[in-house]
């Protein structure tokens, strides 16, 4: 429908332009006006980025943006964490790729093999915002260390990918175990230098989003099952909790986590401020996850349950092996969408004084060596961090959607 094909570099270019830009007189007018608007936007953007923008403020505070006030002497901990995570991601990707290939061969449709270099190039193109961002960060940094760290991270990912593809079938369990084990190992490793109540920057953003998402999923699942229950009392509780938290603004919950939650708990178990705000994010997101999962449960045909029962499966197996897997497969893209929302919503901790990316952007403009006119630069950089993460995730989610064949009913 949308004409998004690019012009081919031949004589057909004129034909393409006639078809897509100047089909009717009215079309021509629209094209001219749009081109004018586009020109102004592009021109102003280029002027801002390359000429008028004073990016010194970002360059000087790059560390603050990325990892807040994490002690300088312990930055190696972040490097190790980054390398370990990327190696693990590569390993899991390798294991999955191998399983997929074997499955495809077994089905008689072997996948076309491409060279490693080809695949890396393809991946780099697919994740172009991330590549551009990393290149930008390296450009802004003054020393060679960040470049080395980046190379080490990429190398770790590639190595993990290669090793993963070599592992025997027995090792498949690693793909499930490692994501669970990693946080348990890495968190104490990171907090040894600085407790998470003092974390800041993009590191805090990712931490808040990841932990809240992990925690909200089981809660959302329980709420969804409760809402679908045939037991009236259970259903009422499920509906009540879900609708309550969907009906109130997240900011209010975040403010409450900072100001009011302490009153509802005995003082002896009052958690720190980061844990409290994670509770707010978790409960809020769980209500939305519950609605998504409910949609997924409803999309599984009743016949599936009946067939499973006819095979003599126990009720637990019916739910756990037949209904939930199908339901969850259908809702993975929606869940990713919710995760993106959560990722963006973590900026709300700004209003309770956490040192997240937005607070950094706000705080650095107060440094006396910078003029306040730098606010646009400071915020633009913060937006870029979020935009890259959010855009990449949503693109990958769309790809996943196509690969899972969701929506092709």
């Amino acid at each position: 429908m949308t004409a998004t094909t690019r012009p081919t570099p031949t004589a057909s270019r004129a034909a393409w332009a006639r078809k897509h830009l100047f089909r009717t007189p009215r079309d021509s007018v629209i094209t001219v006006i749009t081109a004018a608007v586009l020109f102004v936007i592009v021109w102003r953007t280029i002027r801002f980025v390359f000429f008028t923008g004073r990016w010194e403020i970002v360059r000087v505070n790059l560390g603050l943006y990325l990892y807040g006030r994490y002690p300088t002497d312990d930055l190696w901990r972040l490097v190790v964490t980054l390398v370990v995570i990327s190696a693990t991601a590569g390993l899991i990707a390798g294991i999955i790729a191998k399983r997929t290939r074997i499955a495809a061969q077994a089905a008689g449709t072997p996948l076309p093999g491409t060279s490693i270099v080809g695949r890396i190039v393809e991946l780099a193109f697919r994740l172009w915002p991330v590549v551009v961002l990393v290149a930008l960060l390296l450009l802004l940094s003054e020393t060679i260390t960040p470049t080395l760290v980046t190379l080490a991270t990429v190398a770790a990912a590639i190595a993990g990918r290669l090793v993963g593809a070599l592992l025997p079938k027995r090792a498949t369990f690693l793909a499930f175990v490692l994501p669970g084990v990693l946080p348990v190992v890495l968190l104490p490793f990171l907090t040894a230098a600085q407790g998470w109540d003092d974390w800041g920057g993009f590191m805090l953003t990712i931490f808040l989003a990841a932990v809240s998402m992990l925690a909200c999923f089981p809660l959302g699942l329980v709420l969804a099952l409760a809402r679908r229950s045939t037991l009236p009392a259970v259903r009422v509780i499920g509906v009540g909790v879900i609708e309550f938290f969907r009906g109130v603004p997240l900011v209010v919950l975040v403010l409450m986590s900072s100001v009011a939650l302490g009153f509802f708990l005995p003082q002896s178990i009052l958690p720190g401020k980061v844990v409290r705000v994670i509770v707010a994010f978790t409960i809020f997101t769980a209500a939305y996850v519950a609605e998504i999962v409910r949609g997924g449960l409803q999309s599984v045909p009743r016949g599936q349950t009946e067939a499973a029962q006819a095979l003599g499966m126990s009720p637990f197996r019916v739910t756990g092996w037949i209904v939930l897997p199908q339901a969850l497969r259908n809702v993975i893209p929606a869940l990713v969408g919710q995760f993106i929302s959560l990722f963006k919503d973590t900026t709300l901790v700004f209003v309770i004084g956490f040192l997240d990316v937005l607070s950094v952007a706000d705080a650095v403009t107060k440094q006396s060596q910078f003029d306040l006119a730098n606010f646009a630069e400071a915020t633009a950089f913060a937006s870029l961090l979020f935009w890259v993460g959010s855009y990449t995730l949503s693109r990958e989610s769309q790809r996943l959607e196509q690969r899972l064949g969701v929506g092709t009913r």
Partner: protein
């Protein structure tokens, strides 16, 4: 049919089991730790002081963006308020570094105190009747006598608040400042367009620079602090001579924490008394064998009958000495953090010099 229903209610069991498992986890946890916990609560109810000693650290509520009073330098809190946290820690724990700073937004400060997230609040907070009564807080000896003032552009035509008819004023949200501005304008019979309150000091400063408002009102000490860090230099701003409210800034503890309240009070008095005696962190060793019995008592040295003077405050005998040697006396703390901003001692001098600082006798 029954089978299907069986599935459903077994599903429900699963749900419930999960819910109950989640809850019973809590129960188990509290069961196993119950004996310890009750002990702790007992101690806490009896004495917050003991609880602090048990933890080995004083949780002090501060703020990280108030020039002169508490700002972050690296991961270190530096400033007048931050040093008074250290004074209290030195008095209670004998170690000025045993402080856990908890940075609080304005709207969260009393709640943090009420909910026990912090032990003591030393955060540029004005001592008022409404707060003493309504916020579950007990205010103690003020460590700084402040007053609300008004700051304007250096090249504006305003010479005093009385000139500011028909203006907009920016203030920091959630302070006594807002109401004071409105009252002062009313008293002077001036037209006030609006009072804009900002939660975020950076945003407030920016709005002021962009001309969103004509005046910036706050406690004079804060204004001086912001002025000293102003991007265009302190000379771009002018603080009007008017001081139109009393703002005694005082530490606060939770209602009911009497023993802690006493400790905090006497820790603050220690800095004042030391200045009166002329003792500071540099010369404190010279007073080790002072002849003056009052100084001997104060520093916890042996007094004639043998043993040391114990007023029964449940503090170490030499807590005054710890405070002075590890942090300093009032003059030192002031000179270190507030004088560089251009603040005068003003009312914050000893009573003997005509100021308001007066420590009850330590005997």
């Amino acid at each position: 049919m029954t089978d299907r229903r069986t599935v459903r209610w077994l599903g429900a069991i699963a749900v419930l089991a999960m819910v109950m498992a989640a809850c019973s986890d809590d129960d188990d946890a509290s069961d196993t730790t119950d004996p310890d916990e009750t002990e702790i609560t007992l101690i806490q109810e009896g004495s917050r002081l003991a609880a602090i000693r048990e933890a080995g650290v004083l949780k002090c509520g501060t703020r990280d963006a108030l020039p002169g009073f508490a700002v972050l330098e690296g991961s270190d809190h530096v400033g007048f308020d931050a040093d008074f946290c250290r004074v209290i820690a030195a008095a209670i724990l004998g170690d000025a570094t045993a402080v856990e700073f908890v940075d609080l937004e304005t709207d969260a400060r009393f709640t943090a105190l009420q909910s026990g997230e912090i032990d003591v609040l030393v955060r540029n907070t004005t001592f008022t009747a409404g707060r003493d009564g309504g916020e579950g807080a007990t205010f103690l000896q003020p460590n700084y006598y402040d007053g609300q003032g008004m700051m304007v552009d250096a090249d504006s035509e305003f010479e005093s608040v009385a000139d500011m008819d028909g203006t907009s004023i920016c203030v920091a949200a959630g302070t006594t400042t807002e109401g004071n501005v409105a009252s002062e304008f009313e008293r002077l019979g001036l037209d006030l367009i609006e009072v804009l309150s900002f939660g975020d000091p950076a945003q407030l400063q920016e709005a002021f620079i962009q001309g969103r408002c004509d005046g910036w009102s706050s406690d004079t000490s804060q204004l001086t602090g912001f002025r000293s860090e102003f991007p265009d230099g302190p000379d771009a701003l002018r603080i009007l001579p008017d001081v139109f409210s009393k703002e005694p800034l005082a530490p606060a503890v939770r209602d009911g924490d009497t023993d802690l309240a006493q400790a905090v009070n006497w820790a603050v008095y220690a800095t004042i008394q030391a200045e009166e005696f002329g003792i500071d962190s540099g010369n404190i060793d010279d007073f080790a064998d002072s002849e003056d019995p009052n100084i001997r008592k104060f520093l916890g040295d042996d007094i004639e009958e043998g043993g040391t003077f114990d007023p029964g405050l449940d503090l170490a005998a030499d807590f005054n000495k710890q405070v002075i040697s590890q942090v300093g006396n009032y003059a030192e703390i002031f000179e270190k953090h507030l004088a560089p901003l251009g603040l005068e001692r003003g009312e914050n001098t000893l009573w003997s010099d005509g100021g308001l600082l007066y420590a009850p006798p330590y005997r």
